[in-house]
C-alpha cells in the first residue's frame, strides 16, 4: 500500500526556524532525531554526509533560498521516515546538478527511504511541495507542527 508524506513525516523530527552554520550541522541534527526515533541505523548520518560530498542534493530553484533533499542508500534505513528543517538563516549545500556549484538552502528534507515503490507518493509529495511557490512560502512561515500538518495533510491540498 502506498503511503503519503504525513504518514512518514515524523513530528519529533520537524525542526522549525533552526539555527545552523553548515549543511552538516543540519543533516546531523535531523539524522540524530531519526536515529533516536528508530527510523535509521547509526551509520545513516555518516552515509548521508559521504553521499553529500560526492553526489550532493541541493536543488537549484533559482531562488535566494533553495531546498535540499539529503538521503542515502536503503541499507542504512530501518523504516521509512522524513525529517524536516526550516532554517533561520540559510546554509550552503552543493548542487545536485553540479557538485562544484554552491546553493544557499533554507529548507531541508532529510529522506529515509527503504522501498522506493512504497514511498513513491512520499517522494512525489516532497518534490511537488518544493515546486509550488505557495507551499514553499507556507513551509518557511510554519512555526508549529500543526502548521506543517495543515500544509501536508488533507486540508493542505489547496
Amino acid at each position: 500500500m502506498a503511503i503519503g508524506l504525513m504518514d512518514v513525516l515524523e513530528p519529533q523530527a520537524v525542526l522549525l526556524g533552526v539555527q545552523a552554520a553548515t549543511s552538516e550541522q543540519v543533516i546531523r541534527m535531523l539524522a540524530e532525531r531519526l536515529h533516536a526515533l528508530g527510523y535509521v541505523r547509526s551509520t545513516f548520518a555518516d552515509a548521508v554526509m559521504e553521499r553529500e560530498r560526492t553526489l550532493p542534493t541541493g536543488l537549484p530553484l533559482e531562488l535566494e533560498e533553495n531546498v535540499a533533499v539529503p538521503h542515502t542508500d536503503p541499507e542504512h534505513v530501518i523504516k521509512a521516515g522524513v525529517a524536516l528543517a526550516t532554517l533561520s538563516t540559510p546554509v550552503a549545500f552543493a548542487s545536485i546538478d553540479d557538485p562544484e556549484e554552491t546553493l544557499s538552502v533554507g529548507t531541508v528534507f532529510l529522506l529515509a527511504i527503504d522501498d522506493k515503490d512504497r514511498q513513491i507518493d512520499v517522494l512525489q509529495q516532497v518534490i511537488a511541495t518544493i515546486q509550488n511557490p505557495a507551499m514553499r512560502d507556507r513551509l518557511k512561515r510554519a512555526t508549529t507542527t500543526d502548521d506543517i500538518k495543515m500544509l501536508f495533510g488533507p486540508l493542505g491540498e489547496s
Binding site: 553521499r51 560526492t54 553526489l55 542534493t57 536543488l59 537549484p60 530553484l61 533559482e62 533533499v69 538521503h71 542515502t72 542508500d73 536503503p74 545536485i96 546538478d97 553540479d98 557538485p99 529522506l111 527511504i113 522506493k116 514511498q119 513513491i120 517522494l123 512525489q124 518534490i127 518544493i130 515546486q131
Partner: protein
Amino acid sequence: MAKRKTILFVCGTGVATSTVVNATVTEEMKKRGLTFDALQAKATEVPSLVDGVDFIVSTTPISASVTKPVIKGLAFLTGIGKDAVLDDIAARLTATT
C-alpha cells in the same frame, strides 16, 4: 511506428530522485499516448546496464565514458524547464532510429 524504447532513470542512490523522475515521465508520456520500458539505477550501476537502453534520464552527472544520450532530469525536481525536457523525451521515444 517506432520500436518501443527503454529509458534508464538514474540518480545517486537509485531510489529517491530517479523514482520521482520515472513516475513523472511515465505519467506525462502516457498523456501523449507514448509508452516505454523503464529501468532505474544508481549512477555507479550505469556502465553495466547501459547497453540495453536507448537513452538515460539522470538527476546526477553521468560519467563521460557512457556513450548513450543523457538527458538531464533536474527539471522534474525543480519544475523549471520541464516542458522542454518532456518534448525532448517524446521526440526520442517517437524517433524511428
